[in-house]
């Protein structure tokens, strides 16, 4: 067992394929976080709504997204929607499912962030003659942003690693491509190690950028 001989030639040969696949992983991550965040902002507002329908829609979304397996969510989008004649490509199904999942988690993160700001901050800002919009933009939002920044960073990483589930429905993102290539070359150990390294580099890059940004932005 200890005298396994690594042979990296096949990995080097297919490195461009792995890098392309990593970019696909990155693309789904970025899109799913941006769209998920946009949805989460709306859901977080609805969550506080007096309207029972909006409240329950939000509560259901959050519960389904957070309390069911992400793989199952991908299946629902890929196979389930077929029942309504909606046939998504693997790419669209993974993007939709990860976005759905992100939106649920991000809604809760935003809700926590809003709750973290003392309501008397808003009153003080109104007392200075600021309009409600100015109060939100200049006083409340910056404080919410700080409170949610780290949890959102974690969510980005979770989303990036979660895209690997796309492999199951045949999407050739980094894990899918790696699985395909190792089956062609019979070098699974080398390929999965290489893929692991690429994931690690991507995640560490996100973490380092987030840390540098936080140090610059949150001096208070």
């Amino acid at each position: 067992m200890l005298n396994y001989r690594f042979q990296w030639r096949a990995v080097f040969k297919h490195l461009p394929d792995l890098v392309d696949a990593a970019f696909l992983t990155l693309q789904i991550t970025v899109l799913s976080v941006i769209i998920g965040l946009a949805i989460a902002v709306i859901l977080a507002v609805w969550r506080r709504s007096e309207n029972a329908w909006l409240f329950w829609l939000t509560a259901t979304w959050v519960a389904l997204a957070r309390n069911t397996p992400a793989l199952l969510q991908i299946y629902l989008f890929y196979f389930g929607l077929g029942a309504y004649g909606i046939h998504l490509s693997p790419y669209a199904a993974v993007l939709a499912a990860i976005t759905f999942n992100n939106a649920g988690y991000l809604t809760e993160i935003l809700r926590g962030g809003i709750d973290a700001v003392n309501p008397s901050q808003g009153r003080a800002a109104l007392g200075l003659g600021m309009t409600p919009l100015q109060v939100y933009a200049r006083v409340i939002f910056p404080q919410v942003f700080r409170a949610v920044f780290l949890p959102i960073t974690n969510q980005i990483i979770w989303a990036m690693l979660g895209t690997s589930l796309g492999m199951i429905i045949g999407l050739q993102e980094l894990t899918g491509m790696t699985t395909f290539l190792q089956s062609q070359t019979f070098r699974p150990f080398e390929f999965y190690l290489a893929a692991a390294l690429i994931y690690l580099v991507m995640v560490e890059t996100v973490l380092v950028c987030a840390r540098l940004y936080a140090r610059w932005a949150f001096r208070w």
């Binding site: 901050q121 009153r123 003080a124 109104l126 007392g127 200075l128 003659g129 404080q143 208070w220």
Partner: protein, 240 residues
Amino acid sequence: MIKIEEVRKSFGNLEVLKGIDLTVDKGEVVCLIGGSGSGKSTLLMCINALESIQSGRIEVDGIDVHAPSTDKNKLRRKLGIVFQQFNAFPHLTARENVALAPRHVLGLPKSETNQLAEHYLAHVGLGDKLDAYPTQLSGGQQQRLAIARALAMKPDYMLLDEVTSALDPELVGEVLDTLRLLAREGMTMIAVTHEIPFAREVADRVAFFHDGVIHEIGPARDLISSPQRTRTRDFLGKIL
């Protein structure tokens, strides 16, 4: 002039203000005293429309505060308010805290708002803390920052809601000194306070609130030294 007539205010079934009448002239300092829940803080919130009223009328320089047509944001520029919790904006430096409203509410250029901020921070004794964030300031300093921030809007009136109540005892003095300074400069102030000696020294008139009404009102020295009504006497006896 602030004119309060027959103001009633309820939270749900609880009537907090049961018909308040009070007129405060320009340059006057009026302190509101009384037990907690007697309605004095609520009245301050009603004066600058942070709270609505059920009936009655509040006028600030002839403007009906609670008329639907009144631009409340514009009205609040006349009325500086400082709260018990300091409410310094934690993401902004002292200078930025003070410059924020003049910059975005009055639309003054940045050079001018910075000068304004430096002037008012120096005025409350924080001239050496311009670039400090609130977390780097003591409670007393944060409260003086809140006062400077309100002053920078050049308000005609200051509403002070128990501004020393959340402070450690050794920090109360510096904030009261700042208020004395304002009083000397002729600022019109309505201050909810539990600092009876301060009220006696600085206020022109003192109003004793009890159970949602002004139970007794009079010149500060008279009311505090020789209250006419039993409840006022009881309250002052307990607190002094």
